[in-house]
Amino acid sequence: MIKVTNFTKVYRLTKKQMKEQKVQDHKKIAVDNISFTANKGEIFGLLGPNGAGKTTTLRTIATLLKPTMGEINVEGYDVVKDAKAVRSSIGFLTNELKMETHFTPEYTMKFFGQLHGLNLETIKSRTNELFEYFGITEFRNKKIGELSTGMTQKLAIAVSLVHDPEVVIFDEPTNGLDIITAKAVTEYLQGLKDKGKLIIISTHIMTVAEKLCDRVAVIINGKKVADGDISSITTMTGTTNLEDAFFALYKDNVKEVL
C-alpha cells in the first residue's frame, strides 16, 4: 500500500534556473499538498500534463527525493526514515533508467540482484523467468550496447523487477517504447496486478490510463484536482471518456484558454 499524506515538494532554484524559467522567486513548488492512497492489487494512475508534478511524486515515493512537507508510506515504511526498507519493496521503472552498455544483460541482472541481497539461485530463476517473458534470452550474453532500443528498454524493466517487488512504480510506462514493447509491458503490468501487486504509474496519455488504470488521481500544476475510478471521474465532469474529463478539469483549474 502507498499512502501519501499532505505531500509537498519545493525545489530551490539556482540563479541560472531562475533566469531560464524567467522567475524571481528562489522557490518553486513542484507538488502542493497532495494526498492519496493506492492499494494492493490495483493499478493506480497519476494523470497530468508535463510539469504537473507526477515524476516528482513518483521519485519521492521511490526515495530518490525527500518530501519538503508531509509523509509518504510504502508498505508501512516511511520513505525518509526507512528508505532502505522502502527501496527493497519497490521496483522503480523509468525510461531514463540506464545501464552500463559494456556489460551483458546476464551480468547486469546478477549485479543488481546481488545489490538487492538475493542469492545466486534466486537471481538465476528470476533472470530466466523475466528474460523468457520479455524475449531477451537469446541476447543474454551480448553487450547491452549492441542491443536494439526496444530490447534495452525491456531489459531495464527486467532489471528493476529482479527482486520481485511488492510495489512497482512506473514513470511514463509506454513513453518512447515501440508498439510491440509497449504491449508486452502493459500486459506484464496486468499480470502483476493479478498476482496482487500494487502498480503506480504516471502518464499524460489518457487512452493508456483508461485502458490500464483501476483508479487515477489528476494532478494539475502540483495540485490534485480529482481522484477516483475512471467512471466516477467521467460522471463528475459530465463527460463520456477520460480525455474529455481531463480537459474539463484542466479548463476549470487553469485560466489558460485551450
Binding site: 530518490l64 545501464m99 556489460f103 546481488q114
Partner: protein, 405 residues
C-alpha cells in the same frame, strides 16, 4: 555488498579492452619508448659532439705555443689554423657558427712570460666563442682545459728551469678509496631525486582518467540513478567506487613503474643526475618496503577521494575534468618541489598533504625517514581521506547533487 560493487568496478575496467589499452598499456609503452628514445638521442648527441672536429682560428700564436701544439695535436681532434688576418670577419664567423673558436694571444707573449715580475704583467690569452652553438662551447672548454693547461705547465717549467717544479702537490693520485660511501645509500639518493615525484604523479594520473568516468560518467549516463534505487547504503556504494578506483590507480602506476625500470638501461644517467642506476643495488629492509607501501596506499586514498569528490559534484565528465585539473597541477607542483630540496625537511612539512607524502617517500629512499615524520604524514593523509569520504557520502545522499534536482 561492498565487494559486489568493487568487483563490478574492476570488471568494468579490466574487461574493456579499450580501457585496458588506454589506461595501462599505452602509458607504459609510451613511457618506455619516450625515455629510451630520449636516452639514446642524448647519448648520440654527446657522441656527435665528441667526434666533431672543432674549427679554431688562432691569432698571434707565439712560437712556444706552435711547438707545444705540434707535439699534442693528435690527441685534440681540433682543426687549428694560424694564418688569418681578418679578425672581425672571424668573429662574425663564430656568431654564425661557421667557426667554433677564435683565440688571440697577446703580442710578445713568449717574452712577457719570461720577463714578468708582477701579476699585472702576466700576458693574456683571449678566447671568443658562441655558447648558443652546439660545438663552440665544448671546443672552448677543450682548448682551455686540455691544451692551455698543459701549455701553461710547460711554460712554467721553462720559467723555473724544470717542468716538475711547477707542481707543488698532487691530489688523490695513489688513493683508490677516495669515495667513501654505502653503495645502497648512494643508489637511494640517486633514485630519491626522481622516483618519489614519478610515483606521486603516476598514481594520480592512473586514477584520474578512470575515476572521472566511474562517478561523473555514471551520473551523466544515468546509470547512477539505477544504482541508487537499490537498497544498498549510499556509503557502501561510495566506498565500493573508492576502493575499485584505488586498485585501478595502483595497477596503472605499477605498469608505468615497470616501464620506467625497463627503460633505465637505455636512459643511462639522465634520470639519476649522472649516476648509473639499477634498482637491484638498492637494498631495502622488509620494514622499509612496508613503509613505502603504506605511504603509497594513503596517498592513493587521498587522490581517489579528491577525484571522487570532484566527480560527484560535477554534472558531466567534462565538468569533472575542469575541476580536477587544478588538483592535478597541485599534485605536480608538490611532487616537483621535492625534487630539488636538500637537507632534512622540518617535521611540520610532513603534515602538508601530498607534499608530506612525497617527502616521506624521498626520505625513505635516502634512508632518513624518521618514525615521527612517517606517522605524521600517514595520519594526516588518513584523516583527510576520512573527511573526503564523509563529504562524498554526504553528496551521495544529496538529491540536488545526485539527481540534479
Amino acid at each position: 555488498m561492498l565487494w559486489v560493487i568493487v568487483k563490478k568496478e574492476l570488471k568494468r575496467v579490466f574487461s574493456d579492452r579499450r580501457l585496458v589499452f588506454s589506461a595501462f598499456i599505452l602509458p607504459a609503452v609510451g613511457i618506455y619508448i619516450l625515455y629510451s628514445l630520449m636516452g639514446t638521442m642524448m647519448g648520440e648527441m654527446f657522441e656527435d659532439r665528441d667526434q666533431h672536429q672543432s674549427i679554431v682560428h688562432v691569432y698571434e700564436a707565439p712560437t712556444s705555443f706552435l711547438d707545444y701544439y705540434e707535439n699534442h695535436k693528435d690527441d685534440l681532434g681540433m682543426k687549428m689554423t694560424f694564418d688569418h688576418d681578418d679578425f672581425e670577419a672571424d668573429l662574425v664567423g663564430v656568431k654564425d657558427g661557421d667557426i667554433d673558436l677564435v683565440v688571440m694571444f697577446e703580442e710578445g707573449f713568449d717574452q712577457k712570460i719570461m720577463d714578468y715580475q708582477d701579476l699585472v704583467q702576466v700576458p693574456e690569452v683571449k678566447t671568443y666563442f658562441n655558447p648558443s652553438e652546439d660545438y663552440s662551447y665544448p671546443a672552448r672548454n677543450k682548448f682551455v682545459m686540455q691544451l692551455l693547461e698543459g701549455y701553461e705547465l710547460a711554460m712554467l717549467g721553462e720559467r723555473f728551469g724544470n717542468e716538475n717544479y711547477a707542481k707543488a702537490f698532487m691530489v688523490d693520485v695513489t688513493n683508490d678509496e677516495s669515495e667513501v660511501m654505502d653503495e645502497s645509500k648512494a643508489m637511494g639518493i640517486g633514485l630519491s631525486m626522481i622516483l618519489p615525484m614519478l610515483i606521486a604523479i603516476l598514481l594520480f594520473a592512473g586514477a584520474m582518467g578512470i575515476g572521472l568516468d566511474t562517478i561523473a560518467g555514471e551520473k551523466e549516463r544515468g546509470t547512477m540513478a539505477t544504482l541508487l534505487m537499490t537498497p544498498v547504503n549510499r556509503e557502501t556504494i561510495a566506498m565500493g567506487k573508492l576502493i575499485g578506483l584505488a586498485i585501478v590507480a595502483f595497477v596503472s602506476a605499477a605498469c608505468s613503474f615497470i616501464a620506467i625500470m625497463a627503460s633505465l638501461p637505455n636512459v643511462g644517467g639522465m634520470l639519476s643526475g649522472g649516476r648509473d642506476i639499477s634498482i637491484t643495488s638498492l637494498s631495502f629492509t622488509v620494514f622499509q618496503y612496508v613503509q613505502l607501501l603504506i605511504i603509497m596506499l594513503v596517498l592513493v586514498g587521498m587522490y581517489v577521494g579528491l577525484i571522487c569528490i570532484t566527480s560527484v559534484r560535477a554534472k558531466s565528465i567534462k565538468e569533472a575534468g575542469t575541476y580536477v585539473s587544478p588538483i592535478y597541477m597541485i599534485v605536480m607542483f608538490a611532487s616537483f618541489s621535492t625534487m630539488f630540496t636538500t637537507g632534512e625537511p622540518a617535521l611540520i612539512q610532513f603534515a602538508i598533504p601530498i607534499l608530506g607524502n612525497v617527502l616521506a617517500i624521498k626520505q625513505l629512499f635516502m634512508f632518513q625517514l624518521g618514525m615521527d615524520a612517517f606517522l605524521l604524514s600517514t595520519i594526516v593523509s588518513i584523516v583527510i581521506t576520512g573527511i573526503l569520504i564523509l563529504m562524498i557520502t554526504r553528496s551521495f545522499n544529496n538529491e540536488k547533487v545526485m539527481l540534479n534536482a
